[in-house]
Symmetry: C3
Subunit: 186 residues, 3 copies
């Protein structure tokens, strides 16, 4: 890793800075939004398509996607997220996976405690259709969440959540049911 | 999207890697800090200026800024943040918006539950002057936070917080008052 | 900051997009993972080495590293993290610093409240060997965490945690002891 002259690197850096300034101006003008630089490079729908996600799904550049992850139609995946499918991850249609959500199908608790002798453990996660997973929610390995659930912001979900409920807390507990305002059968 | 040869892409990738290595060395030497690559491209004060934020405000590259967002003088906005002004967001002077903070003026709870039939709901958020919003705090739509507040790390704020208090928890509750150590009248 | 023609910027943007598409394809094929764009530029082990971290340590591009930070052997540092060594930060061997973790050795609470008149306060943090620090954990200035600890997801740690325990919550409290499944003496 050597070769480019300082002048070449300066020119590249300047061009990247000009590019960012232009994209900020244009995106602000057309969409009234300003994105992290890499999101001007990485189209959210293209990235979802490249990952084999279903029609209409989108995923921000900063999302890490590991292993086997299936994502259903029209599901929105926000920035600063982590979708770990190393143990198998299945997310349904029309879900909102808010910014900062981390969904795990493995953990490294025993790896750390054993000084690296014990491997990570895995278990699959399944999230149904029409779920709202709030900002910064962490879901741990082996969990199933049913259809039409709302998981409150900053929750940690480490056990199954049945369909049609609101759950909240660390660890998350069911606190009510969700009322669907429109026919969701189609 | 095709055209560049594999050799051209390799050369670009190598130049980007050299550029990052150089910026790490220089930034470490001069500022004793190492940043995400894009933060070498995007100046925090320039980004704030391009967004119309007030004098002295700064915002990291990874912050997403949506819709109408007003940010006051000298306010610091950290990385991995989301400022959603789709319903109108107003942040005062000299605030510390810590890393991982997400401030919403819309939510997609009903959008998800209704299978996409119901649109997102919006409501404005206002944060006063001299507020410390702790790491990973989530503020939901419709909330007003007064001047001189401290919101503890990992809190979820879903109702108004009066000025001059500390609040903490999910949902956040007032746990005490703040004592200003210096005259804050100017 | 002016000079490059619109055509030059378009060509750069297209090349960056093609590069990302290629890296997604190749990384997906070889490693079954898809990364934020900048993580194709920034090698996790190279970044750790450039920062003086110990053998086998790795750190994602999106991690901000400020001031004096020491990281031990084989410690893994995830994305969307912040390691603040402005007051001195020491992390041991074989730790797992999960995605979203923020470790502070300063805070700006009084800076915000005093309208910028009072400087940030600092105090060192020390984390022992073989610790698992869960996703989105925030550790505040002045804290010491012993060897072989597990800190649960979404916790806020603002006081010392002795070695060999599990702690959880906001603020974090000890909830049990950790059992090491393998000899950790070497």
């Amino acid at each position: 890793m050597a070769g480019a002259s300082p002048e070449t690197l300066d020119a590249l850096l300047n061009a990247l800075r000009e590019l960012n300034a232009r994209q900020i101006r244009e995106t602000q003008q057309h969409w009234r939004r300003t994105l992290p630089f890499a999101d001007y490079i990485v189209d959210r729908w293209d990235k979802a398509k490249a990952l084999g996600f279903s029609e209409g799904a989108s995923v921000y550049d900063s999302c890490l996607v590991l292993g086997d992850v299936r994502v259903g139609e029209n599901t929105w995946v926000g920035p600063f997220t982590l979708l770990d499918g190393s143990g198998g991850l299945d997310i349904g249609n029309n879900c909102s996976i808010s910014a900062g959500v981390q969904i795990y199908t493995h953990d490294t608790v025993e790896w750390a405690l054993s000084n690296g002798r014990v491997s990570a453990e895995t278990a699959p996660v399944k999230i149904g259709d029409r779920c709202y997973i709030g900002p910064n929610v962490v879901i741990s390995k082996g969990v199933t969440i049913g259809d039409g659930c709302v998981i409150g912001a900053n929750s940690f979900v480490n056990r199954d959540i049945p369909g049609g409920v609101k759950a909240w807390g660390t660890p998350a507990r069911v606190i009510g049911i969700t009322c669907e305002k429109a026919d969701s059968s189609d």
